[in-house]
Symmetry: C2
Subunit: 194 residues, 2 copies
């Protein structure tokens, strides 16, 4: 019986490979081997490795942004609690994967950042959406007197985002969640109004 | 006349290529083309791409650690000023390269972190030395009452280090030094005793 190849499975495998070992380090041959599909089937679904990468990124970004939006607009919590919950959720997700993979967006930004290709532009676009959601929540926290107003909401959102991405980088390198917990501790005490 | 190939030039070219476009994305063929050397000459100097990468990393790390040590032990400045000077120096260096390259160590940590090869281990070793120098300076600042003592010197050193690396990642992606300046502003105000 001819096996039917599921595009969702192929994209999921691609996501795992890219997150674990990087984009350039993952060849099409490896993707075919892991997904157990012939080259012809791959090219029925995707025109190129970049096209495949863009689809992987699109699905990952959509899922992530939905989670961000749900958490950061959840009116049952105060804005500061929402921000903490958001970073705690990502930390738990990373720990459940033994801190091995990191965030696909952060990984790709590091690997492709500076090059002007479609993948790099797509990553940038998602980061902008992410930071804009963070900034809206920070601004609400400032209005409620929970978060310091020494800096603009955009500045604090960018600082949180950049610092957390650095912590994720160290987490992946050491396969240890300590940098994420340190971020929670120091970054949140820095932005909270005492 | 036969051209004499200088190992220093080859390593310098390798460093620039790795910093700009990554390790896996730089093939030996490209290194040979940029350095204008035949394959035979390359393999006279290096046994493999990994051997070459390790030598590039060794020279980069040595130079960087010398700069870190000189700046962070400079008794003509207070410990907090030394830390600020150190990050300002890296920021200026990044700006002089139009924010295109990032730090070789941060780039390689992201790209190779999690894989257990020689390059990844070498990167980790340099980061440990770097953070240990930072922590000694932070501890001195805490003793002098310049830096908060809500966290251990090691925790603050790691937080600074991780946050700055995240800022470097964003800098490279956007080719803009804004994330580094934001780090200076918020991170230093967070750790300074008011």
């Amino acid at each position: 019986m001819k096996r039917k190849h599921d595009i969702g499975d192929i994209l999921q495998n691609g996501q795992e490979l890219f997150r674990k070992q990087g984009y350039h380090n993952t060849g099409i041959e490896e993707i075919l081997r892991v997904c157990k599909i012939p080259k012809g089937s791959f090219y029925n679904f995707f025109t190129s490795k970049e096209d495949f990468g863009l689809r992987v990124l699109e699905i990952y970004s959509e899922k992530l942004c939905t989670m961000i939006e749900q958490t950061l607009t959840d009116a049952t919590m105060t804005p500061l609690r929402r921000l903490q919950k958001f970073y705690t959720t990502i930390t738990s997700m990373s720990e459940s994967e033994n801190c091995k993979n990191g965030c696909l967006l952060a990984n790709l930004t590091q690997e492709l950042g500076g090059t002007n290709n479609q993948m790099s532009l797509a990553t940038k676009k998602t980061f902008e959406r992410w930071i804009s959601l963070l900034a809206t929540c920070v601004a609400e926290g400032q209005e409620k007197g929970e978060i310091i107003d020494d800096y603009s909401a955009e500045e604090i959102a960018n600082f949180l985002h950049n610092s957390f991405n650095g912590a994720l980088l160290r987490m992946k390198a050491g396969q240890d969640a300590k940098p994420l917990h340190l971020f929670h501790k120091i970054a949140f005490s820095s932005i909270s109004l005492k």
